[in-house]
């Protein structure tokens, strides 16, 4: 009588609508009682126990993998943490020759390039989702929507290559000379654009990241917007609201939690992105306010310096410690997404 304890009994109320139909199939209290009475006589066959054991073991293995990931990263990085203490996270030195390491330079690169990426991708994704749900002719919306969804699946190395061969020369030959020429003496902007025109740097990385996560964010936002009952939309139009009124005062408040989820998930992807960034960041472990000078991020630094770090060295340990911090960052962004989603519902 195992099925009486099936998970749907407890869960269906909080699950999706499609499962609501199961309500009629939920066993009543009396049925449960008789089941309890007959269970004493029922046998649990050997294969059943074995099957239970097997699937529980695979669940345990998944748990062990993540646990191992966190623990090994922490153990590997412990040497660096012990040598440099808490200062490891805030020291901006990364000097393999003197064997001195600090996480601030790559961390700063990761955080700033992610913020630039999200700041550019958000208006792109929101505007496109707005256009797709409110303005585009249905047939064109279907085509563009599908194309955007498909492009969200393109491997990140493709975006990296595209950035390397298209954006980097464009930044080096057009954007940077233009900015230097016109804003060289403007205080406040001067040090943001400071640097030789290499074309690589935080701005380029942010742009490539934005292009990479924008299709993903657009696809999620469009799904969220489309999930709103049409009744609400029609009522608002019936009261004389304009398209933008409907969007800003009805659709956005209704789908706030989904939108936040889309943004934070996009941010999570940008935080840990390796290939798209490694091509265009320039890979120099410096800290500075210039958005156009070569920098590095945690993931790109690991990808580039890991092969030349011998086992057991302090450098390898520092890289693993960086990985541990990146792990915490991505964990925090997921927790943030869950928390915000839970609060607004």
């Amino acid at each position: 009588m195992w099925w009486l304890r099936s998970p749907d009994n407890a869960r269906f109320s909080s699950q999706s609508f499609s499962r609501m139909t199961l309500a009629t199939a939920t066993p009543s209290e009396e049925a449960r009682d008789t089941a309890g009475a007959s269970r004493s006589g029922s046998r649990r066959s050997g294969p059943d126990t074995a099957f239970h054991f097997l699937v529980a073991a695979s669940a345990l293995l998944v748990l062990v993998v993540l646990g191992g990931l966190v623990v090994l990263m922490g153990i590997g990085g412990s040497q660096a943490f012990r040598t440099f203490g808490l200062g490891f996270a805030f020291s901006d030195v990364w000097n393999p020759v003197a064997d001195l390491y600090g996480a601030w330079a790559p961390l700063f690169g990761t955080i700033v390039s992610t913020l630039i990426g999200v700041a550019i991708a958000l208006p792109l994704a929101f505007g496109t989702a707005f256009w797709l749900t409110a303005m585009a002719p249905p047939r064109i919306a279907a085509i563009v929507g599908t194309a955007v969804q498909l492009l969200a699946a393109v491997p990140s190395i493709i975006f990296g290559m595209w950035g390397f061969f298209t954006i980097v020369p464009f930044m080096a030959r057009t954007v940077q000379p233009f900015l230097t020429h016109h804003f060289k003496h403007v205080p406040g902007i001067k040090f943001i654009i400071h640097g030789a025109p290499f074309g690589t740097g935080l701005m380029t990385a942010g742009l490539v990241l934005a292009v990479m996560i924008a299709p993903f964010m657009t696809a999620v936002m469009r799904d969220v917007f489309a999930a709103m009952p049409n009744m609400l939309r029609e009522s608002a139009y019936g009261l004389g609201a304009t398209r933008w009124d409907v969007m800003w005062k009805v659709v956005v408040p209704w789908s706030r939690s989904g939108m936040i989820g889309a943004i934070v998930l996009g941010m999570g992807r940008a935080l840990g992105e390796t290939m798209a960034v490694t091509f265009v960041i320039g890979n120099v472990t410096d800290v500075g306010w210039s958005l156009f000078a070569p920098r590095s991020t945690v993931a790109s630094l690991i990808a580039l310096q890991f092969p030349e770090s011998p086992a057991g060295s302090l450098r390898l340990s520092a890289l693993l410690a960086l990985g541990f911090i990146l792990m915490l960052l991505s964990f925090a962004s997921l927790a943030l997404a869950r928390m915000l989603r839970g609060n607004t519902k």
């Binding site: 998970p7 993540l66 393109v154 061969f165 840990g272």
Partner: protein, 290 residues
């Protein structure tokens, strides 16, 4: 024209309505411009990929193995290496992901702390940066043995594939009506029999979709392979030796200063993208039919 109509009636538009209308115009323009930019940029990526990829794509690029620059080499060993590692990864990830998904949907009630823990961990694994998975597998499977291996690469890819399979399997099994489980039990079938022959069979299409999506996700991954299967210039079919793969080859060749290597990198990029897009389109078509 509207001005004249307004003036003849002596009616003036409400300033708030006018403001709302102009805000709407601005927002409309904003939405169109943003959509235009995004579509143009994405089209430019596809165009770059197609034009440069097709230029580098030839029979030799697919048939010949990698070689030194200027020697009319190809990508054959990288393509085969990618196929071997990806399918080995799926072979490892599918039973594990299925088992975990079955556990979560069939045994993992709300009160089951272990199950909700596993569910959360699986979600975390889905968003872990892929390079960290590479680092982890390096420490577990490469450092102790002292050499890189294709098997380590496959394990790294499998770790990335498992959470996707877990999530889709659990979701799809939960869609199976309880009545079906009851019917099976009423016929005297044991629990494992009902799970495998009834639930899993009726959720077959959805579960298969999950496996295909995992395949698409994994086949373009580069970062986890850098420290595990490393890459190889020569033919190698041994799972305990370094093996070439398409994404890693693209990464090595794209940054090189040899024109023919860069061209091969574009050809490889085109192949990878087409493969991933083809899988996604197949999933979409089958979902529409199902």
């Amino acid at each position: 024209m509207s001005d004249s109509v307004v003036s003849t009636n002596g009616w003036k538009p409400n300033p708030r309505a006018a403001r709302r209308r102009s805000a709407d115009h601005v927002a409309t323009a904003f939405g169109m411009v943003m959509a235009g930019i995004l579509v143009l940029v994405l089209a430019s990526i596809l165009w770059t990929l197609l034009s440069r990829g097709l230029a580098g794509l030839s029979a030799a690029a697919i048939m010949k193995p990698m070689g030194p620059p200027g020697s009319s080499s190809g990508l054959a060993n990288a393509i085969v290496g990618s196929l071997i590692q990806t399918f080995l990864a799926l072979l490892l990830a599918t039973p594990l992901g299925l088992g975990c998904g079955i556990y979560l949907s069939e045994y993992g009630t709300d009160t089951n702390k272990f199950a909700s823990c596993v569910r959360f961990v699986s979600d975390v694994l889905m968003s872990v940066p892929s390079i960290l998975v590479g680092l982890f597998v390096y420490q577990v499977m490469v450092a102790p043995f002292g050499h890189f291996s294709a098997l380590a690469g496959s394990v790294a890819l499998a770790i990335l594939a498992v959470p996707i399979i877990v999530r889709t399997t659990e979701d799809m099994l939960r869609l199976v009506p309880t009545a079906m489980r009851e019917a099976g039990a009423a016929l005297g079938a044991t629990r494992w029999r009902v799970t495998l022959s009834l639930c899993l069979r009726s959720a077959k299409t959805g579960v298969l979709t999950g496996i295909l999506l995992a395949l698409a996700r994994v086949s373009g991954e580069t970062a986890p392979l850098l420290f595990t299967s490393l890459g190889n210039q020569n033919w190698s079919f041994s799972l305990t030796r370094p093996m070439a793969s398409l994404p890693v080859t693209i990464y090595q060749y794209a940054g090189a200063s040899y024109e023919d290597w860069v061209q091969l990198a574009w050809a490889g990029a085109l192949l990878v993208t087409m493969g991933v897009l083809a899988i996604n389109i197949a999933v979409r078509v089958s979902a529409r039919r199902g």
